[in-house]
Amino acid sequence: MSLRIGVVGAGGFGQAIALASARNGHSVVLWSRRARELPPPIQTSTDIGDLESCELIFVAVPARHAIEVAEHLCEVVDGRHLITHVSRGLVGADLKTITQVMREKTVCRRLGALAGPLVAAALAEGRPSGAILGTGFPELTSMVRDALGGAGLRIYETQDVIGVELASATVGFLTVVLAYAREVGAEPGTLAVLATRGMVEVSRIGQTLGADESTFLGLAGLGDLIAAVAGDQRPELQLGRALAQGIDLTSAIGEAGAYVEGIEVAGHLMEHARRLGLETPISSTFVAVSEGRMTSDDAIQELMERRVGKE
């Protein structure tokens, strides 16, 4: 079945999706604000109206552009369209996920979030990898598998859309924490504790927003974190290392070479947790360190002195 696929965003992920879809025999139109050149048969466009005839649309833009893109899409999509995004961030202080933004700003309802240890280069080149699609619509899963799947990519599915989006957004922050800890000399055991307890901490917050704990322990959470610390060259690793070297947050973000949302997301999560009276020791400590309010030694001491409970 040949699909007409639209891709929003010409960054690394957007191009990879366009290439993978075209390789699977679908007709692809890639929309971006600035004109781009991509190899045929991929059609590029700066006219959002060209997406109207697409059945499936991938949104591959950073979370900070999500509202603007949704407002553009609002002019062309309706109930017939299916949309999946691949963003790893949240919007604003009230922790809105991208699907929530899409639901608010457009009339598209058949929405999904593609996440997990999927990287743009592997997708573009068709190397073996895996991902998870959060959606309540089996027809969307089927179309995304048709578009991107095949021998090179295993796409698992879950109905826990918000869980996938929150897990994916918080992995960025935990990656910064782990990169920082490794740079200041933390041993594998310490890293393992930080990773697992950090994931528990964010999943506890996620559950108050409607997510399932198990999603954080699957491909969208721990799976993605393992890929990140195994060294898939994410900017979060660079940011964590720079912070550990004593570089201030603004310069460290500059050094990471890409927009990293993890620290901002962590700040918003902590605020949400505070409102509900939840404890967030790892996030709070790390945000204090990243803002220069605490040294790494003090941070480790504070975390180690906490009362130990059941897992």
Binding site: E55, C74, E75, D78, G79, R80, R103, E104, K105, T106, V107, R109, R110, T135, G136, F137, P138, E139, Q159, T208, R274, R275, L276, G277
Partner: protein, 568 residues
Amino acid sequence: MLKRFLSERPLRLPHFRPYVPRPSDPSIFWFNSERDDIVSDVVKRICASHESDRARLEIALNDAAFHEIRRLEKQRDDEARDRLGYWRAMIRRIGKMDDSEQRRVLHTIVTNMARDVAGNFDPRVYRFARRAVPRLIGGVMEPRRLTQDLMAPAPQALSRVLKAQGDVEHLRDLRTRGTLVFVPTHSSNLDSIVLAQALDDCGLPPVVYGAGKNLFTNPIISFFMHNLGAYRVDRRIRVSLYKEVLKLYSQVMIERGYHSLFFPGGTRSRSGMIEQRLKLGLLGSAVEAFTTNEVRRVDRPVWFVPTTINYALVLEAETLINDWLMEEGQARYIIEDDEFSRIDRWITFFRKVVGMRGACIVRFGEPIDPFGNRVDGTGCSMTPTGRVIDAGGYVEHRGTPVADYVRDAAYTRELGEVLAQRYETETVLMSTQVVAHVLFRDLVQATPGMDLFARLRLRGEIRLDREAVCQKLGEARDRLREIEEKGRVLTSDVVKEDSPAELLERALGFWNGYHDSTAASLEGDQVVLRDPSLLLYYQNRLVPFAQDIAQPDQLEAACEIESLGVLR
């Protein structure tokens, strides 16, 4: 015996001449002529969905027999004596039945269930109820005015107490173009009566709705329920087939254009909080009704009207909050011994509210399609920017409308979320709720570190300075105005217009003399917190807004109150 007779054999008035509906009559007037067809449609669809799969059919029969035997063994009443033998004999025979016998048994069971569910509509009872109910309630409220009200074209007492708000004109435009499904919040067993009255006051059509079978045990209420189109829901029956019958009955009614009402909260809000976790069964039936009409190319869309019913005084407040606190809310899904069943409490309640301006506000929210989109006056779905779209596109697959149960279930879950959001923004905060919140927040502030239940035991122990309370009320009201301007919530005219001192006095007046113990009272210059459980109940409506209306020194207490929302 009489109770059973009345609940099993509804009283109907004799028909000397069949009523022929006029074109201008609401759709419900056609119900009696269509009832047999509706029952047969329900039976046909359920049987068809089971007949092709023998294993499924056998499971359904076993499930029905198992649950009915269990229920009847517990009941040990006349019904048990009549029916237990049938089900016991059946469960022994299911395995030995051939295909055709199993299908025949299924047909019999489903037909009996559908007939039991289906209601009746008598235009004479409808006209009588329209005239009599407001006057009766008015008479209870103000016996001195009963004679005047009986003569008046429209009774005054009820209209002083009940106020309907919202874009009623829009709803009137839609009523002949498709099916309206009213989905209100649920606080009291009075809700259906109040809503019926509000619909009538606004010139909106009557609706059909499912009423718990326990309501049919009262002969007078049973008579009205039976003859006004209500369908009976027996919550004691756990049989899967019965749930299918209920859902499909509701779906077929909506497909055929009968304006409907159901409470997505499932049961009355025990805590008093705005419902957030909605039961999706009946909502799903309305979404599937939309799909079925699209697939059959029937141009009869379905629209939902999020509605909030807001009371300054709740008839059953004490029972409900105690039930929530005992964490027996689930176990006591059907409460039969609350204030609703006591006529003395009804009289006290109505007499209490009549002197109070704006005691009940029914707020009709903007109608939405099954996918959460706004609709214009002609019923067309719109994007947030006002572009008209075809709602049928949502059920299309590659250009063709198709039935897809899983897809529709996902749409229903999302619709549930939209309704929960709309309930917050369409809630009208009443004087008692705002005052209770300020008092309860002071209680939390005065007892740091204490758990909820310890606080609720502090009856009469917390005294607050009246002047300070009035000041905090004024501040809270100012903050409420700010969030009202942002469209997050609404407040009643009384909350907007009264001075803080008047607001306090009004709330204390509502509580005093109706509930067994008043929530708070005045002693000189002090406000004494008498019943923190009642304060909790009334203030719970403000849980989502606690931090938004708190001053910096009240934030910690507000946080604690907001965290109660996680329990709901």
